[in-house]
């Protein structure tokens, strides 16, 4: 018998997992539904699935060091985003797609000859502050932040463009924060689906209820302010798969919708829609428990179009033949 089995026999919930997501800044949420945060079962009969058509937006990023000018890494980056619409047959068709290929480098610190060559060959360059030169780890962190920002920007642009082409009853479901664009955040038929839970909005009893939310339940709706625009949205947690035996964040989604009383009224119905998206499973994605299959398919679509030489494989450290 292991040392933790008596704990489980005494009432502890079995679990698994290890280090999860990086913590982000905490925000104070205000409940707009119920006096204190409650777990609401998803009503079985309230709308089986999202009404067709529904559009899904997702993005992707890839980058890799291509050359060194002294100790300055010169990075090749690629970001892309796409919207794919699901029609009545359940098949996705691409309705919008954007991508950007660019270089990332501390151009101010590069040798003049190589800088000139870089600027001649690449029209699109994102600069890195010269303060990071000489600190490889921080330099690459900065590169990652720049690429992520570019991706976010691309997704925001595409989402805003996508709203213009949205049909009368059509919903737009985004992978990530809704609040990155005020226009999107205020749209009556847009939803943000957040898989990462680095940012903490609840505390105390409410936090415990949210993290131990039973499968097939949602929490009460609360307000959050997210993105650099600090746009207010309504949000709630939704558990797609039972966390018992896994970790507290297993199958846990945070949903964002516009800050409007109608959102509170439709929170259960919307949760039911998203609950129906559990099938098909978004495997073989590692975070399939929180990734909706249509968003996974958009990501796969983008990966298929992305340059193959920017795959996210780590370079082998094994010695290679000189040839």
């Amino acid at each position: 018998m292991t040392w933790w089995q008596p704990l489980i026999q005494a009432g502890a919930v079995p679990g698994s997992g290890s280090k999860g997501e990086e913590p982000e800044s905490s925000e104070r949420a205000e409940l707009v539904e119920d006096g204190e945060l409650q777990a609401h079962p998803i009503p079985p009969a309230a709308g089986a699935a999202p009404p067709p058509p529904v559009s899904f937006l997702n993005g992707m990023e890839r980058w890799g060091v291509r050359a060194y000018d002294g100790v300055i890494p010169v990075v090749d980056a690629y970001v892309a985003a796409a919207i794919r619409r699901r029609e009545s047959g359940g098949v996705l068709h691409t309705t919008g797609e954007r991508h950007r290929s660019f270089a990332v480098a501390a151009v101010d610190s590069m040798t003049p000859k190589l800088r000139e060559l870089l600027e001649q060959s690449v029209g699109d360059i994102e600069p890195v502050d010269r303060e990071f030169v000489g600190q490889p780890a921080r330099y690459l962190e900065q590169v990652e932040a720049i690429v992520r920002r570019a991706r976010t920007h691309l997704e925001r642009e595409l989402a805003e463009a996508g709203l213009d082409g949205l049909g009368a009853d059509e919903w737009l479901v985004l992978d990530g924060l809704l609040s990155r664009s005020p226009a999107v955040a205020r749209h009556p038929r847009s939803l943000g689906v957040i898989k990462s839970h680095g940012a903490q909005f609840l505390e105390g009893r409410g936090l415990e209820r949210a993290l131990t939310l039973p499968v097939g339940h949602r929490t009460s709706v609360f307000t959050v302010r997210g993105g650099h625009t600090r746009t207010e949205t309504y949000s709630w947690y939704l558990r797609l798969w039972p966390w018992e035996g896994n970790d507290l964040l297993y199958g846990l989604l945070r949903i964002e919708a516009r800050a409007h009383p109608e959102t509170i009224a439709r929170a259960s119905e919307l949760s039911r829609w998203l609950w129906a998206e559990r099938a098909p499973l978004a495997t073989p994605a590692t975070r399939w428990d929180r990734l909706l299959y249509p968003l996974h398919q958009v990501e796969e679509y983008l990966k298929a179009l992305a340059p193959r030489d920017l795959q996210m494989h780590r370079a082998s450290r094994l010695p290679r033949l000189s040839a």
Binding site: A48, T283, P284
Partner: protein, 641 residues
């Protein structure tokens, strides 16, 4: 033209010069057997040989989890990403040199012109002297393109022969051959001369109604128009059938009063049989002594005035004469040698007894086909007609007799084609049931040797074998191997598991195992891969329908049968006169007179018949009739022969 797919090549599944892979939309008109065209820096034609469908599902368990263990759940709002992935075998590349792997490019459904290019039909379809024979319609992928085979490779001299395999009872093998004969007769090129077909009807009424129209659907008629083959029954059909043991009723299922008049009796006498005496001898019989004695009979006895050395002169022309000769020799050896003589003209008495038994046995076993005496009735040797089908109905004949008919007819065809005196330049010989006549194992029979001979040398003579069988794997390898064109109907899965089908993909085998009526897989020297085609229902009455529409008549009494046969020869013949004439005559005498009239075909048949009967057609053997037929040997008899 809209692309329906794109070639994909990966390290694991690369394109090669002979094979490529492509994907299509989930909804696509193509399937196994479809011909496609890749348009890139070079044009490549291919035929789809394998198909795959799969989704992004990593393991079936994930589907179970997604459906929460309930297979009835169908409420997943998004359809899994899936692929239709096809493998195609290259039919042709243009340019053909240098031969390179298939390039990446868009894939299109082949149109009529593409099909002609892909199957290299352009060379013989659009030449100054076209030799194209329609074999069916390529109908995959919603197309309707005629497919042709090259007469030079179907009927010689480049290659020849056709073999068709398929399970029984699906009206494919016989129907396909009937359609193909109609197509050959309609399209056989003038510069290649005249052609006829000889079909052996070996089971039921299969080929008995080739001159009668069958029921065709509008779709069948449209296909005939598309292939430019007339949808009418064969204009010239000659049907031959032996007589029954009574010597007057025909041994065929085509005895309906409306049709029986077109059936010619097939009867042979000693002269016709003895040349093929080897057919009658089984493996154990064949020895130098028997051969020598048969040769002696042929060279020195038959048709000649012959002294037996015991004081009797013979002229052996019939089985009855032969029996008389043997009796005289055996009596002579018994009586004149005091029972001690056992050799006559260097031939041992046991050898002579064996040959006598075999030869006279045939007249018992095949009574009706072989006559004890009287003239024979045969095929129109040296005057075969162009575009004519000669059907020989031997379905109800003893197997030994079938072998004899086959051996003699094919030998005569070969002999006369060799001398260019048959009347036509090429003859298609259709033989069903090759499993029986040319099995891969078993003894080397005379018939098997003849089939091998046609297969290997017939194309130079214009003697073309169209063979059919149920199990191709069990037919002699050289017979099927020499068939330049091969057709496959629906096949048995066990047969498809044999090594001969290893070159086919599992998908192609699966298609073959479920092939509908009217569809065939064709292999032809010009086609680098097997092609699936549809052919229309033959324009003739099927055997079983023919028997329903024209039920066979019951055997008529002897007098009535004689009347009918004479009336057929001369419509002026009055039945009562004939009946009065033959009322007090021996049946054998009447049969001889009838055969003589049939052979002579005089202007006044009745007068000739009366004259021959009145003069009593001479039978040189004044022996009791029951002695003419020698019963078969008892296999466990103590007789040394």
């Amino acid at each position: 033209m809209t692309a329906i797919g794109r070639v994909v090549a990966t390290e694991l599944k690369p394109s090669t010069p002979h094979q490529f892979h492509f994907w299509t939309a989930t909804e696509t008109p193509i399937g196994i057997g479809a011909i496609v065209k890749v348009a890139a820096e070079r044009v490549v034609y291919g035929v789809v040989t394998e198909g795959f469908a799969y989704s992004d599902l990593a393991t079936p368990l994930h589907d179970v989890v997604g459906a929460e263990g309930d297979p009835a759940r169908t409420d997943a709002p998004t359809t899994r990403q899936q692929i239709r992935y096809w493998t195609a075998a290259v039919l042709r590349q243009m340019p053909e040199e240098p031969l390179q792997p298939v390039p990446l490019g868009q894939v299109f459904v082949a149109d009529d012109a593409d099909v002609a290019q892909a199957l290299r039909m352009d060379a013989f379809l659009y030449s100054a002297t076209p030799t194209a024979i329609p074999v069916g319609l390529y109908t995959s992928a919603g197309r309707d393109a005629p497919v042709y085979v090259d007469a030079d490779f179907l009927l010689g001299p480049e290659a020849a022969h056709l073999n068709i395999s398929g399970v029984s009872g699906l009206a494919t093998k016989t129907s396909a051959v009937e359609f193909l004969l109609a197509s050959i007769f309609a399209h056989f090129p003038a510069h290649k001369g005249r052609i006829a077909a000889v079909c052996f009807n070996v089971k039921g009424p299969d080929l008995c109604f080739l001159d009668q129209p069958g029921d065709l659907s509008d779709e069948d008629r449209r296909r005939y128009e598309r292939l430019k083959v007339p949808s009418t029954p064969f204009e010239n059909v000659r049907l031959y059938a032996p007589l029954k043991a009574d010597g007057v009723n025909l041994n065929t299922l085509r005895t309906h009063p409306d049709l029986v008049g077109d059936v010619e009796p097939l009867t042979w006498g000693l002269q016709e049989v003895v040349d093929f005496a080897e057919v009658l001898l089984n493996r154990d019989d064949i020895d130098a002594k028997a051969d020598a004695f048969i040769d002696y009979l042929r060279d020195r006895v038959l048709g000649r005035t012959f002294d037996d050395g015991f004081g009797t002169t013979h002229r052996v022309q019939t089985f009855a004469d032969l029996h008389s000769l043997f009796r005289s020799i055996f009596d002579g050896l018994e009586v004149l040698s005091g029972g001690r003589g056992d050799t006559w003209r260097t031939h041992h008495i046991a050898t002579m007894r064996k040959v006598r038994n075999r030869l006279l046995n045939i007249s018992t076993r095949c009574k009706g086909l072989v006559t004890d005496d009287g003239p024979s009735s045969d095929l129109p040797w040296k005057s075969f007609e162009d575009r004519t089908v000669y059907v020989i109905d031997i379905a109800n004949v003893d197997p030994l007799g079938q072998d004899l008919v086959f051996a003699r007819v094919v030998s005569k065809l070969r002999e006369q084609l060799e001398r260019r005196e048959l009347g036509v330049d090429a003859v298609v010989v259709f033989v069903d049931e090759l499993n029986k006549y040319a099995p891969g194992d078993g003894p080397d029979t005379y018939v098997k040797k003849m089939l091998l001979d046609i297969s290997e040398r017939g194309r130079y003579l214009g003697l073309v074998l169209f063979g059919a069988e149920q199990f191709r794997s069990q037919v002699h390898r050289r017979v099927v191997g020499n068939a330049g064109t091969q057709l496959f109907g629906r096949m048995d899965m066990d047969e498809l598991a044999t090594p001969g089908y290893q070159v086919l993909t599992p998908a192609t085998k699966s298609k073959l195992a479920t092939m509908p009526i009217g569809e065939l897989m064709v292999r032809h020297p010009h086609f680098t891969q097997p092609i699936f085609v549809r052919f229309p229902k033959p324009p003739v009455l099927r055997g079983r329908d023919g028997v329903e529409r024209f039920p066979p008549a019951a055997d008529v009494p002897f007098e009535e049968a004689v009347v009918r046969l004479l009336v057929r020869l001369d419509r002026r013949v009055r039945p009562n006169q004939v009946k009065d004439l033959i009322a007090d005559r021996e049946q054998d005498d009447v049969r001889r007179a009838l055969a003589a009239a049939r052979q002579k075909r005089p202007d006044d048949v009745f007068a000739y018949f009366r004259k021959v009967l009145g003069a009593r057609v001479e039978s040189e053997a004044n022996l009791p009739r029951e002695h003419l037929a020698v019963p078969p040997l008892n296999p466990i008899s103590d007789e040394p022969y």
